[in-house]
Assembly symmetry: C2
Homo-oligomer: 340 residues x 2
């Protein structure tokens, strides 16, 4: 019914609601995502939602990362992984995603196609479906290439209640892998620093990982450590739980290259953004089983215990490699903007 899209770049007419928009949407988006209905809304049902005591989880996130393509991923991959992870860390099984694009006039159609292909691949891997979407086009200089907002809907089984204020004195903090790869990769990809590295973003969907852990042990609390890094996630959790969290510097999983980048630039890896990293708390007697479950999944290979919750003033502290102790405060701003 629709002709092939012949344009090489997005123009304002692609956002106007007429034929040009229909051709863009069909050729670039719906031919790949294959929504089930031609109506504007997705109409869905899942048996999981009908189980007694199950809850619907609903999240949203806008993605504005620059550059939009970087080693290990692109803005499309982040948009899928980030939203899947926002669902997963609450114990929800991710089911359906929306994708809304704000596109700057002049953006290459080929770039959009790469981003959309990357979203589709990542959604397939994570077992979710992109069921509804939107495109808007804004004039040159009114946006930066492309922004994506994805919302997610999932189902939390009746027996899961994962929340930061459930953390108990003595609970163990576990991360699924190395810290700071995403932030360090974006920094290098911007090219301002003339840093050469083989670093890749850790960008990954963690739904399968969370399912593996949740089936193995009761997870008390979980957050993904994105903007503001692991330090900000832990501070939020300490505050919600009313407990102190004590990290051990010697156990923090960090790549030598990330450490090096941080040393050169005076950054702290605890504050670098991640896109495939979560921190969860379990009772100490469940720590080994949780670690084993995480390590059985690709995205949890490097899982490690990094600290413990303790009764005390809500704050995060770290035993340093030299035997001292320091406060790991929340950042006031951020080391880097446009990181995710």
């Amino acid at each position: 019914m629709n002709k092939m899209l012949r344009d090489e770049r997005v123009t304002l007419s692609h956002g106007g609601g007429g034929k040009a928009m229909r051709d863009l949407i069909q050729s670039v988006f719906t031919d790949v995502f294959e929504p089930e209905s031609s109506e504007d809304q997705a109409r869905l049902m899942s048996d999981a939602l009908l189980e007694k005591g199950a809850k619907l989880a609903f999240t949203t996130d806008s993605y504005v990362v620059t550059p939009v393509e970087f080693p290990g991923g692109d803005i499309g991959k982040i948009a899928v992984c980030g939203t899947v992870n926002d669902l997963a860390v609450g114990g929800a099984k991710p089911l359906w995603l929306s994708a809304a694009f704000i596109i700057e006039e002049g953006t290459e159609i080929a770039l959009l196609r790469r981003i959309v292909a990357s979203m589709k691949a990542e959604a397939d891997k994570a077992g979710v479906k992109i069921v509804t979407g939107d495109t808007k086009v804004v004039g040159r200089g009114s946006a930066d290439q492309v922004f994506i907002t994805s919302s997610g809907v999932g189902v939390i089984p009746a027996d899961r209640d994962i929340r930061a204020d459930s953390i108990q004195d003595g609970d163990v903090a576990i991360v699924n892998g190395v810290l700071g790869d995403h932030g360090a990769t974006i920094l290098a990809a911007r090219g301002d620093m003339m840093l050469m590295s083989d670093l890749q973003s850790d960008c990954a969907a963690l739904g399968h990982l969370m399912e593996a852990v949740c089936h193995a042990v009761p997870v008390r609390a979980c957050r993904d450590a994105t903007r503001g890094g692991i330090a900000s996630s832990l501070n939020e959790m300490a505050e919600a739980a009313g407990l102190s969290i004590e990290l051990d510097e010697t156990t923090l999983p960090l790549r030598a290259e990330v450490k090096g980048t941080c040393e050169i630039l005076g950054l702290d890896p605890l504050y670098l953004a991640n896109e495939g990293t979560l921190v969860l708390f379990v009772a100490p007697e469940h720590a080994d089983a949780a670690l084993a479950a995480m390590r059985s999944v690709d995205t949890g290979r490097d899982a490690a215990i990094i600290g413990r919750a303790k009764a005390g003033t809500p704050m995060v502290t770290m035993k340093t490699a030299f035997g001292g102790s320091r406060i790991v405060d929340m950042l006031v701003g951020e080391q880097l903007p446009r990181i995710c």
Copy 2:
């Protein structure tokens, strides 16, 4: 727990994931929207969702309108109404909304507060709750003040199946009110044309209206007539249904001011965007009951029959006031960009 926000404008540090962001979110967003949980995801359940045969409806839309404040509304009001309407026109009872903000560095906090207050007021009126959100900040010149993406979740009762391909030969097309007010208002509000008018955007949530009609008669198909105007919605419906749609120019509800604006500028009101206007199809024997149900609701006061579906080539035609007939084609681009 959080101090008052003292800044007058948004800075990059408000988007960084640290304290500044937490203070902005708390002071500007969560103090107004009052989400139930401090977790990043909303956890929800509705009895309506558990009814046998019910379906979950899921939609998303980004809003990039300029100017962000205009007579009759602002970008926040559009973001709530537009997403409520995307749910409602499919027969879904709107329940929950997300709101993701992309904010340009330098945007006034006071403007954000006005937008958020407007969203809250409109959500209350529509009977929906804004349950989850996100904020990102981008550098000066990387966005235009503020973009909002809202997604919506609602429930479609088992007995409703509203879709454009259900339209039958002879079905009657009804609109709920006057056409083109939003587009003409935005045009005047931009100030480029030095047009003075008392026009206001028709921006309104149509959930209550759709519930009233759906309880009165079976609605065959429905679309809201936003970007591309009523002409584009009707063309999409004609194509999906495989039928011709014939309009009658003399019955189109148009304000004299909108007609005048269009005559001066050479625009066609059929293509002007609306933000509180829908067109629905019912069987001819249900037309009177549908009209009565619509007119019983504030947003349907000016409801009118504007045409009929007929067997024939899928296209939209209009009997003109002078007795002729013309094709109402889909636009190629749009008369105006950044309209919603």
